[in-house]
Subunit: 338 residues, 3 copies
């Protein structure tokens, strides 16, 4: 496809020669016929060495020697360019004869269900949804339209999802919350987890992530939230609209994130907390306090990121600081005639 | 059901009107006909605003305006109240025709095995145990009575569980321990993991948690221990009786926890360590030293929690401390006539 | 088997009586007829109390009272001794009648495929490979020879593995990378993950570990790398030859580890970083900077391990340091006549 045609599809301004493009590649791997992109400033120096035939760039990047597509949002343009050339996986159409469909199940039009999938009694699955082989829905699950559930995803009894929800492989929705009443003899009494999990529209959940059902009420993942792999969401927690949790992050029970909250990889929240809209908790941080809207916090325990950065610099020099204090003590002792 | 009847079932004292109760709810979600509870002091202020018809409270909580059930242990009473109103998931009875049962398998009375479950040769499963669809037992596994193994749980060859063991979805019991002998050419030589995993009675293991088999001998999870989701237990480790590991915690190989040890979320233990009875390691902490019985430790590396708390307060003020030391140095220089 | 015969097989020097050995055991569990070993210095004191009939020891360990096998590398000798006495799990031979084999699949000689495994269309599986029950290959997957894929392992569309690759249970190879373009309305636009995952020869991947497919190009796990359980490898990342990632470690997208890099448990790398050959990042550390070859780093954020160790010692004494600075301030004020 001609670069000019791609420019038109993506709404970009073309600068330079109208070359032929056959695929989209990363900047280092790109060769003849490749369209590449730079959105992370870290890679700008590589524009000189790329063998790509053309490049998608921000409008603020100075002119380059190869043909380019200029746009306000190069990352989004790259995302759309991928769609031009890439044929995504298409599922086997229809319901595989080995799928087990329980009594009372209602399937919408165009639902695909793969080999050995198990759909429990009274489940309802909206039109256009694909259940890959070996996904399991327990009884009474409600799934929206145009969802994609990959192999080994589980949705436990009575949980509900909206439309366009993507579950990567091995996701567990609605496992029992971790609730036990400690008894006097040191043992623990299991608390029935009578609640459920609700996943709203346009949520994507990464491989092997676990979202527990609540003891009472619902654990909720709001519209547009994105959870990476191996994330833990405890019972009764709530992830706000368009919030993002990076891999291996964890929320303990009953913690509530507002809208657009960003949680870094391996970060954690204790239970019964709130993080306000737009709060950011950076990677590996941990907090046992509420986080105000818009705050950026770091560390374990977490506090204001800008202060934390200065504390970490000082931490690396802490032995030297201690040495200087010892020195001062000697000098003072001398001055005081001790 | 009348509140007085619930009071009698739970052994609580009823205070106030004998209202009709139809279900149990969280304090914020509760409405007409709901019984709710407060055990976490954080929620006491919400008693004034709840729309619940009645509330379970500790005996030490001052009188409230709505009917209440007073008890020494409101959390336990709440757990039991849930059982009155909630009908838990019941499995499909019997052995599903698609389940694959290997040669020499012995099933106790009342065992339920779901669709597509695979039970390896020579397994023994005790009476009343339920294996949900798509759980897999490798050969020579021994399972006790009244266990519940959820979909996509795996129990590898030769592992053994006691009675009333619950495996949530995606649990892996007995994957190969991470054992390799480093060779001089930089490669690693796989060490056969010839041991096994033993899970004692009344253990619950959370979704996608992994417990490795030992190189020699057994990895052991003792009676009554509770492991949350995404926990890692390395080969040859031992989790003591009634110990609790929160989500994403990890034990490296050959580490042994005593009885009633509490491990916070995302906390970790290096290998070949011991934690004494009742030790507590708080969330995100990490230790490469033994922990004495009863100690509460925090931080990475972990030390005494009360000291750590003071150190973290000082850490947040570290840049200011460094500034004050610089100031002192200037003043001393002045005094010393430098 | 006689100890002298084992000595010959393992290339060790026998010291003491030529006893009969029936199995290999850990030093504490060993009894009559057991061969045990010590490689970790921590356990040397237990040589006196072991009831083993013989022991494998380093050449540098002083003479002991029981028969011993002396070698330069006791851990490797132990690994090989296990192979003499242990009969590993053998899979059911052949292709189980319930396995679903897609159109165009090519199977090498001696491939074993277990019950309910699903092999997508156009997959190729090399000779001698075993796919346990309930493993799933999506379409167009290429698997080398003599691999072992355990139950509930997934290999997504178009991913490729070399020879002798071991996937423990629940591994997800090629789930969608976590790539979203943020839009102005606060929502996220899913970026097609058009790339793949390549696993080279002799790689072992632990239970429930997730390795994401790249947006463009490949996520690569190089020859001989070993990944423990619950590890996260982000899209476009690369793990170098013979590198080792302990349990619950995480690499964000596009990060590249060199050869022989060691990553401790629960450690994390931000995205777009490089770690040079032989770098070591200790347990629970986290870095957002490149790590030079051979460096040993610790902490979050990570810096030179030897400095970090000193900083952590000073951290534990930080409240006392603050107290001493307050004391100095008082004394200076006195001296300055304030």
């Amino acid at each position: 496809m001609k670069l000019s045609e791609i420019a038109e599809k993506l709404g970009c301004e073309m600068v330079g020669r109208d070359v032929e493009i056959t695929r989209v590649s990363g900047i280092d791997e790109a060769g003849e016929g490749c369209l590449t992109f730079v959105s992370n400033r870290k890679y700008i120096s590589r524009i000189k060495t790329t063998r790509a035939s053309a490049i998608i760039l921000g409008k603020d990047v100075p002119p380059v020697d190869i043909p380019s597509l200029k746009t306000d949002d190069p990352y989004f343009a790259f995302a759309r360019a991928l769609e031009i050339f890439f044929e995504p996986l298409s599922p086997e159409p229809g319901v595989h004869p080995t799928a087990v469909i329980g009594d009372g199940v209602i399937l919408g039009a165009g639902v695909n269900i793969g080999a050995y999938a198990v759909i429990g009694r009274n489940c309802r699955i909206g039109k256009g949804t694909t259940i890959y082989p070996h996904a399991v829905l327990y009884p009474d699950v409600v799934v929206g339209c145009d969802c994609v559930f990959h192999s080994f995803a589980t949705v436990r009894e009575g949980c509900r999802t909206g439309d366009r929800v993507i579950l990567q492989n091995g996701v567990v929705i609605g496992g029992d919350g971790f609730g036990f009443a400690p008894l006097k003899d040191g043992t623990f009494y299991k608390i029935l987890q009578t609640g459920s999990v609700v996943i709203e529209d346009d949520v994507e959940i990464g491989a092997n992530t676990t979202i527990d059902r609540a003891a009472v009420g619902d654990t909720v993942i709001r519209k547009g939230a994105k959870l990476d792999n191996l994330v833990q969401v405890g019972h009764g927690a709530e992830v706000g609209e368009n919030s993002v949790l990076a891999a291996q992050a964890g929320l303990a029970g009953s913690t509530r994130l507002g809208r657009g909250v960003m949680v870094g990889g391996q970060a954690g929240f204790a239970g019964h907390l709130e993080a306000g809209d737009g709060a950011v908790i950076t990677a590996q941080s941990g907090t046992s306090h509420d986080i105000p809207a818009g705050a950026v916090v770091s560390g374990s325990p977490a506090f204001k990121n800008s202060d934390w950065l200065r504390s970490t610099v000082a931490f690396a020099k802490l032995p030297e600081l201690a040495r200087r204090v010892r020195e001062l003590e000697k000098e003072i002792a001398l001055l005081m005639g001790k």
